[in-house]
Symmetry: C2
Subunit: 346 residues, 2 copies
DNA sequence: CTGAAAGCGCTTACAG
DNA sequence: CTGAAAGCGCTTACAG
């Protein structure tokens, strides 16, 4: 039913090989005349090469996996910030004539299964914890070009692409300090889960130290990313730590929850408390007041991921160090000078 | 390098065929004893069947395409509402041992190319306009099970999955009428683009008619979906139609923009004007006041899409009529009785 | 510049 | 219950 190389070859009166060479653009090997003729037939008949046959016969499948954690029976959780990266990844890959296979990973061995089964040329690991990247072992990965997004794993098997998390935190906390804040809280998921959070925490500490502000560990709180979690934390903070005048948060959705929690306890943002988010998700511009946040270079991240993967596929050496994509502070309405209090100051 | 059927067969001292039968669970064909032995070897050696070889040799690729429009050089635009469906689709398919290929479609013929190239068993068309679905032609589609999401196309080549758009609009507008509104505007993208909008418009008209409210075409406005578009429309509405006390919108993001535009012109929601959105996106719960909106049954939509596709793949008859997934009104803070005016009433 | 042969890793009838 | 043969649609060396 479907038209094959053989059909084209028969119609053109040449061998399979010649058609194959033409279709694959190996110009030097075929005369211009027969190339034209073959190309015309290919077009007329609507010939499209079989990717599975190619994948089987050649070394390359031109298929890249997009692997995303999926807990048990749950469906993939792709946050808005991530989904943008997915779209950009797809476009970059498509430009290069690669295809993207989206796969949820419930158990660890599914990573290797996906790689083997479809003979993937490469894979992007999106949203995995550093510890999971660490555990990848060479035997199972084979020659697949693996890119771990937002990872600080030391596993040499994976190429790493990430933003300048340390710098992003510096930007946010410096802004807060410049505004006059001294009691600045830090809220984000546990450090062990992702190096991203640790780096941001380190950036936070550095700026405090630079400014002679003592780090108060009671102000550093583990809060899972989510609106409700942020809300609960915001309420607690308002009740238990009225001295805190600013919060730096590792995600916009968390920040938005915090603001709502603060408000629920009668504290206004940014009048009483300043809040800074992270990611500059669309939503940051829709809430009231609009969220001050740290923006990542998402297109840069996607492009870099694909570039690294292609370099690796082309046999290039792994770069000495992971590049950190740029980051910038987006000032909107949730950061302002601290309120003047009854002179407690510090 | 990779272990193949042949390797397993050699180690087990049986033929390729027998291993194939075992791996594919054709129980009746192999004795329990040899099956156990083969399974053990498969596991020990970490054998994973080659999907491309299978796809080539068998009729089925067990691959489903997720086709999403991508204009020119742009990357896919997957709105938050859509991305949830993607995650759920992936999960359902994964359960059934299918894989999902994500593909942006810039030019129409890329649809057929994707189908042919990867020998897809099925494809889900997400976000295409009805007119594009209409244009699909049988030759190119072959036996692929096509599911068009949110489509009202009459093309028999595609199975259709959609929400009860008519009913959703009824719910929203009835709520508004019950609250006492008579001048209710409708804002959404052009009707021709998607039947979804048309159905919602029809639901809107029906409820007005039911309640003896004359439909004022000047109150029906084409507004592309987007925050800024909504904002601009909200401002215009506030300036030009102060008599309007309620707006029904075909998307949450649009509604949020409208609210902001109204506010920019000094009109409060829901004090002066009520606004109802559509989709119940996460964001609806984060804005202030929280958005009243129509929720779709997203898990149901994804499950239905997969069910229809599998039925089709199993050779079942196409159902008589497309099922419309349920819909419900989520009452939050943006719909209230109209303000009492200087007695204009109507 | 062009082609005949072998093989990629499977499945599908068909025999026994 | 088990197997030998053919073939899916391509690409890769290797010849000419």
């Amino acid at each position: 039913m479907a038209v094959t190389l053989k059909d084209i070859a028969a119609e053109a009166g040449v061998s399979l090989m010649t058609v194959s060479n033409v279709v694959n653009g190996k110009q030097a090997r075929v005369s211009a005349a027969t190339r034209e003729r073959i190309l015309r037939i290919v077009k007329d008949r609507g010939y499209v090469p079989s990717a599975s046959a190619r994948s089987l016969a050649a070394r390359s499948s031109r298929l890249v996996g997009l692997l995303v954690p999926a807990e048990g029976e749950a469906s993939l959780t792709i946050d808005p910030h991530t989904v943008e990266v997915v779209g950009m990844l797809e476009r970059e890959l498509r430009r290069l004539d690669y295809h993207l296979m989206l796969r949820g990973i419930a158990r660890r061995k599914e990573i290797t299964e996906a790689l083997k089964s479809w003979n993937l040329d490469g894979a992007v690991l999106l949203g995995f914890q550093d510890a999971e990247i660490d555990r990848l072992d060479a035997g199972a990965i084979g020659g697949v070009a693996l890119v771990a997004m937002d990872s600080y794993s030391a596993n040499p098997l994976a190429l790493e692409v990430r933003s300048d998390d340390f710098g992003g935190a510096e930007l946010a906390v410096r802004h807060l300090v410049a505004l006059g804040h001294r009691r600045i809280a830090f809220a984000g998921p546990g450090f062990s889960a992702t190096g991203v959070v640790r780096k941001r925490y380190e950036g936070y500490r550095k700026v405090l130290a630079e400014n002679g502000i003592e780090v108060d560990d009671a102000l550093v709180t583990t809060v899972e990313i989510g609106h409700d979690e942020g809300l609960a934390y915001g309420r607690r903070l308002a009740r238990e730590r009225p001295d805190v005048t600013a919060v730096f948060t590792t995600a916009d959705i968390l920040a938005i929850g915090v603001i709502e929690g603060l408000a629920a306890e009668g504290r206004s943002v940014p009048g009483d408390v300043s809040v800074i988010g992270y990611d500059n998700a669309d939503i940051a511009a829709y809430v009231t007041p609009k969220l001050t946040t740290v923006a990542q270079d998402l297109p840069g991240k996607a492009a870099e991921a694909v570039r690294l993967m292609m370099d690796r596929l082309a046999g290039k050496e792994r770069p000495e160090r992971a590049t950190a994509l740029g980051v910038r502070l987006v000032e909107r309405g949730t950061a302002a000078p601290p309120p003047r209090r009854g002179g407690s100051g510090r």
